[in-house]
Symmetry: C2
Subunit: 351 residues, 2 copies
């Protein structure tokens, strides 16, 4: 600033191709770095005139604080990780969008990490991911969100962790959950209301909390409707299409086949649908089918599938809020209700 070449000079930007730094802003507005820092951080103890002067220079220069430098100085960063091993692309993307909605106006960024649940190195991979990127927090999606050991490891690494699941996996501040049990129970109630008495059930894989919850919900629903659950009307799948095909074949080959089948997810429901078709069993007239998740498939197969839709976006937004603002985490809702989407795959039983 020793040069005396009138106002022009002082205002002109650096024009050396580099991004402007806090020093440039300080120099051009005639204040110290610290003051600029105060402006950026909206410090309350700051003269209004000074603030405006600095803000003008910032706008003029198009200055944006360097997040890496900030992260270094603050000894914390603004990266949150999304870790998932999920077969349901739509859900994962829905979650990504929900998180983005919440962090858009903040300085946080979302970094993603698909993992392989069956890989022996999964824990090491995740550890390395968190340590290398110095993640501020991570969000765990089902099914790996059900892994307590994993959640503990992430916390030991200094991350705040929020888990998404279908049951109470953690305390309210670190959890968002859909109430699958209740949702399934309501879906069964709907089938009973239509007049179905023999209702089949395709369970999800053992060891999955969501599968367990849906099983419990099915039992609840049957009990509440005054119906007995018969072992021959229950099959187990692994959430994949092919397993639905097998389960459908199994359930439809018993002496008195069910008039309706609840499937623990849409993919398996599609499989059951194919199995029925292969046996010349008409859906929905001879067999009603209900799925779970409301994937794109559910809406696009024929007949469109009655299914349970859970509020992914709202859950993801709440989860992100808990992640970036742990102080108010507990005040965000933790439990979310799912809707039964009634489509053409469920009708009253024949006769």
């Amino acid at each position: 600033m020793g040069t005396v070449s009138a106002g022009e000079e002082a205002i002109s930007s650096k024009s050396d191709g580099q991004k402007p730094t806090i020093n440039d802003v300080a120099r051009l507005s005639g204040v110290s770095k610290k003051t600029v820092s105060r402006v950026i951080n909206k410090s309350p103890l700051l003269n209004q005139a000074t603030r405006e002067k600095v803000e003008a220079v910032i706008a003029d220069l198009g200055y944006v604080p360097n997040p890496q430098a900030r992260a270094l100085a603050l000894r914390r960063n603004f990266l949150i990780g999304l870790i998932h091993d999920n077969p349901n692309a739509q859900m994962v993307l829905g979650v990504q969008e929900g998180i983005l909605d919440t962090i858009r106006k903040t300085e946080f960024a979302l970094v993603v990490r698909p993992v392989d649940r069956h890989s022996p190195t999964m824990f090491d991979d995740i550890r390395h991911f968190i340590e290398q990127q110095r993640l501020y927090g991570v969000m765990l999606l089902p099914p790996i969100s059900e892994n307590d050991e994993l959640a503990r490891m992430c916390r030991d690494l200094g991350c705040t962790v929020v888990r998404m699941g279908s049951a109470r996996l953690d305390d309210d501040a670190h959890l968002v959950a859909s109430n699958d049990r209740q949702a399934v129970s309501e879906a069964v109630a709907w089938l009973a209301e239509l007049g179905h008495r023999r209702i089949g059930f395709v369970a999800g894989p053992e060891g999955f909390r969501s599968a367990r919850e849906r099983e419990l919900g099915f039992a609840d629903g049957m009990t509440r409707a005054g119906l007995a659950t018969e072992p021959e009307l229950a099959a187990r799948g692994d959430y994949r299409f092919e397993s639905g095909l097998a389960a459908g074949a199994q359930l439809l080959s018993v002496d008195r086949p069910p008039t309706a089948i609840f499937c623990s997810n849409d993919e398996m429901a599609a499989g059951v649908l194919h199995a029925a078709r292969a046996r010349q069993i008409d859906v929905p007239d001879d067999l009603s089918i209900v799925g779970f998740d409301d994937t794109a498939t559910a809406a696009h197969i024929w007949p469109p599938l009655t299914t349970v839709r859970w509020p992914i976006a709202a859950m993801a937004q709440a989860a992100a809020s808990k992640l970036i603002d742990p102080a108010n985490a507990a005040s965000q809702p933790s439990f979310f209700l799912s809707d039964l989407v009634r489509r053409a795959s469920t009708v009253p039983p024949r006769e």
Copy 2:
């Protein structure tokens, strides 16, 4: 640390809850920061014994260099952004996994940003995203990858840009593309080979490069098969299920309806399938249908859809390579061939 517990002390890790830094490594291994830095960066001019000693301490401490500090000092960072506005969740997730495959062993991380193509603030959003995070590079997915102005803006912001598309959108170093035109042409050839003569076409939305390429490919295929394209056998959709429903209704209500329909994506193919079903037209016996993309829907609807599958993972991997290693970008493949997945939705026409 004032305690006098002999040699133990010098070797024991800090145990004050903080992550070890390069200074800790230097102190414990009795060398300077610079030497540790050389070890980390695999500098060749370094005594082997020294290197091993330092590496032992690093392993012992579980030291991981702070990427923010590195980014600051190197004046570049290791974040690559994935920007997309894509209706196809599976594709986006496939791309994410492909990118991850490539960067897993590097220090790069992937940060995602779904955007809204129709938002008036999209450009500003993206600019802000890139500037705020100081992205090293970005990958653009279709359809926004087709926006030259956007690509230019990203480059002006100092990012390397790689675009994924269905045609030559950019030079080889900044592009990965599937050859949709050829793939569609081959799909049409397959229909002709089955004996179809009246083949309908459902185009994608105007203004989409992929839609245009698929149109051209359809024309190519028809010409090559010696078939005339008739205006009444062509309809236009917007890549969504509902538009496929409408297009199907339109194409199937002409005097001499087609015996096969090529749809520019799977969602619209599902729509056409529903339209046929609503008209009691049997698929595949009365109508063969071909889709494009090989989404989950394609495999799970009835009948399973013959469709074009493009190598998303390979493309994403190549794109990521180009992004993180611009020097060798041109040596990575830019064009990828798609496969025709033949399923039950295509059979010879009824006589």
